[in-house]
Symmetry: C2
Subunit: 290 residues, 2 copies
DNA sequence: ATCAAGATAACGATCTTTTATGATCAATAT
DNA sequence: ATATTGATCATAAAAGATCGTTATCTTGAT
């Protein structure tokens, strides 16, 4: 009992007919002639020796068999499209450099893994620097893409996600929050965090002092963990060793920051385009990090 | 970015090439010409703009892309075949009568459910009678199929499954197993069970008496549950209220019985063929009933 | 050198799409 | 109600593309 094979083209028009509700509309959508679609439907019915549709008046209705075939068709076409785009993706080759501030690195490993699975032939390089630095490098085409916290003075780029900033301290610490507030600052977003924090404190009439500074979060970690100062991070950067402080701490609320994706000025290479798409998709939903 | 559709025919030959390891062998298997298969492979490569195979010497090897497409192909074809046979199955209509001994009914509900899912347009009637009776009815074409315990005196039919017979008593009872053994008998297999039991006892030099008889297990259940007698059932017929007795009970071992499927003498209708197949498939594996 | 397998070319048949036309049905006007 | 209009769908005929076959050529292994 050898099973004949479906013509996926015909199944695609079947789905189009179902989606649009009419033969002519389906024809338009598929860039076929009306008569072609009409005959394709007939062909399908002839091959299966089943009537898939019937019309009462002008309305087209699918029979039970039609509905069933429709379901099969959707599954088959989904698998087909997936297979096809996988085969295409594997053909995409090239090299690609992405810039990110060091502390966003923790956000992206799963994206990188997925990207490599989809496009195994693409060589991906990641460079870390401050946001301001990265923006300049992208403009100079030294990077294909850069994912940065949006700079006030360097607009452009697509906003991928907005994220709340939070005050945080070591998880077991109860820092003294009397003025002046001891701040631990680092410069991931080229001091965007710092700017924002100082503005918020000033607006609230609070006093502060910069207790510690470092180029990276890693350098600051011991100080913060020890409870010697509070730090400003995005919510998705919170680690198990960091405890966020809510408004009951008395510290002023902080604004949202924007993650922006910058692209090199020239037309993006195919790999760059794909990674950009992927980052947008994957990062669009606000992460529910602890 | 609209994804083109695969030609499942080409994928089928790709699989055939992979299975057979050569173009000519695949051609033979698919009833194509060698050149056709050769060109189909080329067509596939042209459509994807990928080379799927390479040969070193005479040996044909798939590239990484080829292997990948092969995997996709198998999935797609499996789905295709499933969809196709489902569409065909739904077209099968008719009526169909199956005979079974009453006590096998418990074995088949899942088969009936599955059958109805596969062939919703088939009307299935089930008739219960003793095995001997059923065999005659099938021969007289009053039934399409009969699933019976094989009769010594009426051979024929396909053996679907062998199953052990066991002695059983009420689950909480400790019956007196001194001679004469009190037997509770019913006649599901037209007394095959009785015959077998008495032969086994006689061969073991034991004495017995027929304490209770009934036409059905249901009639016997209270007596057995009460511990007034032992009964002989197949292992798959054991219910939670029945406790099997092993050899430590002192009762002689019982032979296997055979479940046989009889078909009406005329050429079976399509529904009958299908149900027969399904019963064979589903009942082939010995059930691990409690 | 010979044999078997794969590739290629040319031809033919089949299948598919299109253009053109006719039929059917709903809606609006008379 | 009846007729007219507009639109959708079905069908016929013809052009066109595709696919499979036969026949031939190339290539690699024994």
């Amino acid at each position: 009992m050898r099973a004949p094979t479906f013509d996926l083209t015909l199944l695609r028009t079947l789905v189009a007919i179902a989606d649009t509700g009419s033969v002519t509309a389906a024809a338009k959508r598929l860039a076929y002639t009306q008569s072609t679609v009409s005959m394709q439907l007939q062909r399908l019915e002839a091959q299966l020796a089943v009537s898939l549709h019937e019309r009462d008046g002008r309305r087209l209705r699918f029979t039970a068999e039609g509905e069933r075939l429709l379901a099969h068709s959707r599954r088959l076409l989904a698998l087909n499209d997936e297979a096809w785009s996988d085969m295409q993706a594997r053909q995409i080759t090239g090299d690609l450099t992405l810039g990110i501030p060091e502390d966003y690195a923790s956000l992206l490993p799963s994206v990188f893994a997925y990207f490599h699975q989809l496009y195994p032939a693409v060589g991906l390089t990641v460079k870390c620097a401050t946001s301001a630095h990265l923006v300049e490098q992208v403009k100079a085409s030294e990077l294909d893409l850069a994912l940065v916290t949006r700079q006030r003075n360097s607009p452009g780029g697509d906003v991928i996600r907005r994220e709340p900033l939070v005050w945080a301290v070591g998880v077991h610490q109860q820092p003294s929050l009397s003025d002046p507030i001891p701040l631990a600052l680092y410069s991931p977003g080229a001091d965007v965090f710092r700017e924002v924090a100082e503005q918020a404190l000033q607006a609230a009439g609070r006093d502060w002092r910069v207790a510690y500074t470092s180029q990276s979060m890693a350098g600051l970690a011991p100080i913060v963990t020890a409870g010697l100062a509070v730090v400003v991070v995005t919510r998705s950067m919170l680690t198990p060793t960091l405890r966020p402080l809510d408004e009951s701490s008395g510290l002023p609320a902080l604004p949202m920051i924007e993650l922006a994706l910058h692209r090199a000025p020239h037309r993006p290479s195919e790999p760059a385009r794909r990674l950009g798409e992927l980052i947008r998709e994957q990062l669009a939903a606000p992460s529910e990090a602890l």
